[in-house]
Symmetry: C2
Subunit: 138 residues, 2 copies
């Protein structure tokens, strides 16, 4: 698959490396050049310096041929806005945005434009599962 990832923080870099190792074609966008160091020297994908709200930057990352777009910058607004542009302008089939705010996640999820992943909710669910385990109370 051809996948464009916006945001080369810990999550973006981790995901990019994994998908690259699996043989997918990966392009990563970040506005901070130093962030690309997280990808490691064996990363075979493309790195594009710039902001993901800029349509020229998205084109340079190959958004017009992309099968999927993933927005994982640290800003919920940026992730949501970039995802909307990619879905509406470039008609990329699969769009996923990380949104830290559960309320905002719920709103965008309801709009149905993009898939959303909320680390708050999945982290909380995971911890609850470890703590409660068998579901007993008190």
């Amino acid at each position: 698959m051809r996948i464009v990832i916006l945001g080369c923080g810990r999550l973006g870099a981790h995901l990019a490396r994994q998908l690259d190792h699996e043989g997918h074609s990966v392009a990563v966008i970040d506005r901070n050049g130093e962030a690309f160091a997280r990808l490691g020297s064996d990363f075979r994908g493309t790195m594009i310096l710039g902001t993901g709200i800029d349509q020229d930057i998205l084109r340079r990352a190959g958004i017009e041929q992309a099968d999927a777009f993933v927005a994982v910058t640290n800003g919920d607004n940026t992730n949501a806005m970039a995802s909307e542009i990619v879905k509406l302008v470039f008609k990329v089939p699969k769009v996923v945005a990380r949104l830290y705010d559960p309320v905002r996640e719920d709103t965008y999820h309801t709009l149905g434009l993009m898939e959303t992943v909320c680390p708050t909710v999945i982290g909380s669910d995971k911890i609850r599962e470890i703590v409660i385990g068998d579901g007993r109370k008190q």
Copy 2:
């Protein structure tokens, strides 16, 4: 169950509210009093102002009778250190720490003192599952 949560950020508050609603006895520690607003007015648990590395604060939160301790401040070091204290000094049976750094998570997980949850890894796995889905490549 009696559960002490360190850190009343988005994740800590979300988890505290859920466990409280399920009938568990919950105490939340944060060094910033304003953070407790996230718990909402219907929260029936205890709020303790202070740092979770302070053993007196932990005692005031009821750590000596706790069945579980969850460390979810924004600092990996704080979460790891507080979890070690709780496990070694107070012998709490179930201790879970959120660690953002996957490398550090791996180290602590290997030490076996505490269970660890890494939002980077679980977030990445979740997004990969949405994007790749059926597992096909290229």
